[in-house]
């Protein structure tokens, strides 16, 4: 198996410009293409330990971030392409890396309806996976990044992919998206945090991504059993607490955070029911990352896991 970092820089640049960087990411193969140096630098920084798929492997998602013509180059713009079609408007080149990551998220959000998909970070201690749904700004990615830097395994920063009628979560480890103040928070939290290009003035503000495959098992594709669901909420001026929440309320909130619960109809209901009735649900209000990690380390399902 060849890792991305084993490609000589010249070969990497050539293959990336020609759309010949097929990376194994979780259960999928993403084939990447870009003619932008910032995007190339970001991929080299954040994906060096990902495996290259072979030339005969099926590619699930063909994605590209390209400045496609003279007018775009003159304007300093680029486009995200999926199967060489542009689903979004052109964006400033300075935002290209963030847009590549969002586009890669979008591929999974829009497709793969064989899973119940929640908008959630997923982390694990040993064999215990913890699902953390959250609206943007709730602090799930910051907490996810911090957990990864303290020895937890990051399974995903964006998608909890749950095969219906199981409590399994399929790993899809990709960089963690950090926004605005969270970038400095994580830089201060650990000097080990590896951050990619900083994209400014995006519709989400300043965005940078953190290398997420920090755990020895990061690239394992075997599903893990979810035992806990935590709804994190960053609140600077509120008391920190980790408190149990009712399953019925959690069902509704998790469905709200799902990309495809409604699309799946009865299958979605049964999948969510199976998940919720077999896990413990909590609210987590925090403003101190070390406190939050300590609270999660102390959960009954997590204690004793390595």
């Amino acid at each position: 198996m060849q890792l991305l970092k084993h490609l000589p820089p010249d070969e990497f640049s050539r293959r990336l410009s020609q759309g010949e960087i097929p990376l194994r990411i979780g259960p999928y193969v993403y084939n990447l293409q870009s003619n932008l140096s910032g995007v190339a630098a970001g991929i080299r920084t954040l994906y060096p330990d990902f495996t290259l798929a072979g030339p005969d492997d099926f590619v699930d998602y063909n994605v590209a971030l390209l400045s496609r013509n003279a007018l775009q180059r003159l304007r300093g713009e680029a486009e995200f392409l999926f199967d060489m079609k542009a689903p979004f408007d052109a964006i400033p080149i300075g935002q290209a890396y963030a847009f590549l990551e969002w586009g890669m998220n979008w591929c999974v959000s829009l497709h793969t309806n064989e899973y119940l998909k929640l908008h959630a970070a997923v982390v694990s201690r040993g064999d215990c996976a913890v699902i953390m749904p959250g609206t943007p700004g709730a602090g799930k990615s910051t907490l996810c990044a911090a957990l990864g830097l303290r020895g937890w395994r990051i399974l995903s920063d964006e998608h909890a992919m749950i095969p219906p009628n199981t409590t399994d979560v399929v790993p899809l480890c990709r960089p963690v998206g950090l926004k605005n103040e969270s970038i400095e928070v994580i830089r201060r939290f650990s000097p080990d945090a590896v951050l990619g290009p900083v994209s400014k003035e995006t519709h989400k503000g300043v965005v940078a991504h953190m290398k997420a495959d920090l755990h020895p098992a990061s690239h394992d594709t075997k599903p893990l059993r979810a035992k806990v669901m935590i709804f994190p909420r960053y609140a600077r001026d509120e008391p920190q607490q980790l408190s149990p929440r009712r399953r019925s309320d959690s069902f509704i909130l998790a469905a709200y955070h799902s990309f495809n619960y409604s699309l799946l109809c009865e299958t979605g209901f049964e999948a969510m029911k199976t998940l919720i009735e077999n896990i413990d649900c909590y609210d987590l209000v925090y403003h101190d990352l070390d406190w939050a990690i300590g609270a999660m380390d102390g959960l009954p399902d997590v204690q004793g896991e390595q």
Binding site: R247, S248, D249, F251, I252, E266, F269, K273, I276
Partner: protein, 89 residues
């Protein structure tokens, strides 16, 4: 008056004061009180009149839990109609 569900839905009851109800007719998912969930369950096998429903509710609900059972049942039925889970004839 007779009450009926549009279709057979699915219920998740975690023995809390609320239940989750999936309405197969609309595709909507509702968080209902356990009392409302009980009422819906009574109507799924077949439509019932208000009086039939009242008997079932009286047999199953602790009177200490709900002071005015008739008023509570009427209120819940109206809410379930407003949510388009039930219809009345």
């Amino acid at each position: 008056m007779t009450w009926r569900t549009h279709s057979k839905g699915r219920l998740y009851d975690a023995n809390e004061s609320t239940v989750v109800y999936f309405d197969s007719y609309s595709g909507d998912t509702h968080l209902l009180t356990d009392f409302a969930g009980f009422v819906v369950q009574q109507l799924e096998p077949r439509p019932l009149t208000t009086e039939e429903l009242m008997h079932r509710v009286a047999d199953s609900v602790d009177p200490d839990d709900i002071a005015d059972l008739a008023a509570a049942l009427t209120g819940v039925l109206e809410e379930l109609v407003a949510l388009d889970i039930l219809t009345r004839d």
